[in-house]
């Protein structure tokens, strides 16, 4: 055992541990750009009153993408089936309103818990074989099972017709969910922000640090006695829980659920959003969702039939050129231009 005496050089001078502490605390501190981002988000509520429906969709998608970023960017687990948790949350929220209560927060909590439990139950499948390909297939498989389950259980879910009769009570008993989506947007924003805060706190905790370490070097993490599997599973369930909450928001703001919430394109879209926005810094999902929805909105306004084509093109450009290079593109072009001008 290392005894206290072995630490005596340190105890003599308190400075190094202050430096250590300062260095470690720095990582969790809010940066100016983060304040700016959230101020702009809050301003969007007041200055774009006629776009609240679109903005709600963005907030929901952003929250969903945030949940996927947790497992891809922090646990290093890739998934093609995160839509299963989103869809389960959407259904649970809908069923809660029909059979239990129309109170939105109850539905939100139950939906999140149900999705979290599904994550906890299916997560161990991802640990058996830790290759990316098996994980893609396992998550895809789970999502297909959930989709087919919802399709078969038509007595409960309404099957292909969807779940009708979803009625959501006013938020906190006071704010009616209106046609313009104003209450809905405020609700989505607050829930998204709350989950962001929790996620931010988790990834900057010692637990979050251990996840980074596991992703960086699992062999060393094991030899340090870090329970690798348990740590990954915990984050996976937490991520599923957030995805479920995002699904609940969709149900509660649109008052409708259909099998579409479990469709493959949901899982694919959210992965695409993370490719656009980047992984591993928590804002990738939010920024990506904004970019994705605005592009989608814009392309479908110009060419209603071919927006998917343009989306695909953007995706290819981002992946092939790379975000870092895109950011540096103006400078690179300028430098090349200058060089050619000289010769």
């Amino acid at each position: 055992m290392m005894t206290d005496t072995s630490l005596s050089p340190l105890l003599a001078s308190p400075r190094p541990n202050e430096r250590v502490s300062r260095d470690l605390l720095r990582r969790g501190r809010w940066k100016p750009a983060e304040f700016v981002f959230w101020l702009i988000v809050a301003a969007s509520f007041f200055f774009l009153p006629d776009r609240h429906l679109l903005l709600s969709e963005i907030a929901i998608l952003g929250l969903f993408a945030l949940s996927l970023d947790l497992i891809i960017g922090y646990a290093g687990v890739v998934s093609l089936g995160h839509g299963a948790f989103f869809g389960l949350g959407a259904y649970v929220a809908g069923l809660t309103s029909i059979h239990l209560t129309g109170e939105p927060l109850t539905g939100l909590v139950l939906a999140a818990l149900a999705a979290g439990l599904l994550g906890l139950a299916t997560g161990p499948l991802l640990l058996l074989r830790a290759s990316d390909l098996t994980r893609l297939m396992v998550t895809l498989g789970v999502a297909m099972l959930v989709l087919e389950g919802a399709n078969q259980a038509a007595w409960l879910t309404g099957g292909a017709d969807g779940l009708t009769g979803v009625m959501i009570d006013p938020l906190l008993g006071r704010f009616e969910f209106d046609l313009f989506g104003t209450t809905g947007y405020a609700y989505c924003l607050i829930v998204t922000f709350a989950f962001f805060l929790i996620a931010r706190r988790v990834v900057t905790s010692p637990y979050g640090l251990s996840l980074r370490a596991i992703r960086d070097n699992p062999l060393r993490a094991r030899s340090m006695g870090i329970p690798v599997g348990r740590r990954i599973l915990g984050l996976y369930a937490f991520s599923a829980l957030i995805a479920g909450a995002a699904g609940a928001l969709l149900t509660q703001t649109t008052m409708f659920v259909s099998l579409d919430v479990l469709a493959f394109h949901r899982s694919a879209d959210v992965l695409l959003i993370l490719v656009l926005g980047g992984v591993g810094y928590l804002y990738g999902g939010l920024l990506g969702a904004i970019g994705f929805k605005l592009l989608q909105d814009w392309f479908s306004a110009i060419t209603p039939q071919y927006w998917m084509f343009w989306m695909g093109l953007v995706l290819l450009v981002v992946v092939l050129i790379g975000r870092e290079n895109l950011n540096a593109l103006p400078r690179t072009l300028l430098a090349r231009f200058r060089k050619e001008g000289r010769t």
């Binding site: 541990n17 260095d23 988790v202 905790s205």
Partner: protein, 250 residues
């Protein structure tokens, strides 16, 4: 008194190849014990058996008298068996403070703490600062590990193992690849490791072995070949023939 670490007729076969041939080895408490042997003698396999990276085909491993033969890597680490790696196994994107902080947090029961910020527990900070100081990492503590000079990375490799507060520490060629200019610092740090940690040094470098160890075991072809004090090993003609003769004095 039980040994810090003991193997009894430990065995490992890869198909027809016997990599570890019924090796019985006793590491005393507080020992500075070196395990040497020519290339391919099975030193690395032996370490992998001790740490649980590879399953054994027979024999027993006792840590402080407790049978750990069937325990997982993580369990062994938690029970006080630490190791360093021959090839650095570090967290490249993390800084030394973060890496050591992680190891200390895990040991002090704060590793799964998901609600507290990093750097808020004074007891953990003290431990980290002590290790940073002991391993001479102060100037580079906030730089990404993959950018550190190789000698500093080697020091961090050992610091991470010691941060888990092991009772037994396996050092797998700690000086391998360290440039001459950084060697002295590393050897000095090794010499200053706490005496209450029992150390098994697996090493190729004879200068380091003879300056560090108070007991030496020679492994040849996966089997226990000779054991004794550095003087006995150095003067043993059979050891010189199989090992020192061909390797060191070539």
């Amino acid at each position: 008194m039980t040994a810090a670490l003991q193997t009894i007729a430990l065995e490992k076969r890869f198909g027809g190849l016997v990599a570890t041939d019924k090796v019985s080895l006793t590491l005393a408490h507080g020992a500075r014990h070196a395990l040497i042997g020519p290339n391919g003698a099975g030193k690395t396999t032996f370490v992998n058996l001790l740490t649980g990276v590879l399953p054994t085909n027979g024999g027993q491993i006792l840590l402080d008298g407790v049978d750990i033969t069937r325990k997982s890597q993580i369990q062994r680490a938690r029970m006080g068996l630490g190791r360093t790696f021959q090839i650095n196994q570090l967290f490249g994107a993390m800084t030394p403070v973060e890496s050591i902080g992680l190891a200390v947090s895990e040991r002090m029961g704060g590793g799964g703490d998901f609600w507290r910020g990093i750097g808020t527990r004074a007891d953990i900070m003290n431990e980290i600062a002590g290790l940073i100081d002991r391993f001479r990492l102060t100037e580079v503590m906030d730089q990404p590990t993959h950018l550190l000079p190789y000698g500093k990375q080697r020091l961090l490799e050992i610091a991470l193992a010691l941060a888990s507060n092991p009772r037994v520490l396996l050092l797998d060629e700690p000086a391998a690849g360290v440039p001459e200019a950084e060697r002295a610092e590393l050897l000095q740090t090794l010499a200053e490791l706490p005496r209450d940690v029992s150390i098994l040094l697996i090493e190729h470098d004879m200068d380091l072995v003879f300056s560090f160890a108070d007991r030496i075991t020679v492994l040849v072809n996966g089997a226990h070949f000779a054991e004794g004090s550095p003087q006995q090993i150095m003067s043993d003609p059979s050891v010189q023939q199989v090992y020192l003769g061909s390797e060191e004095h070539a």
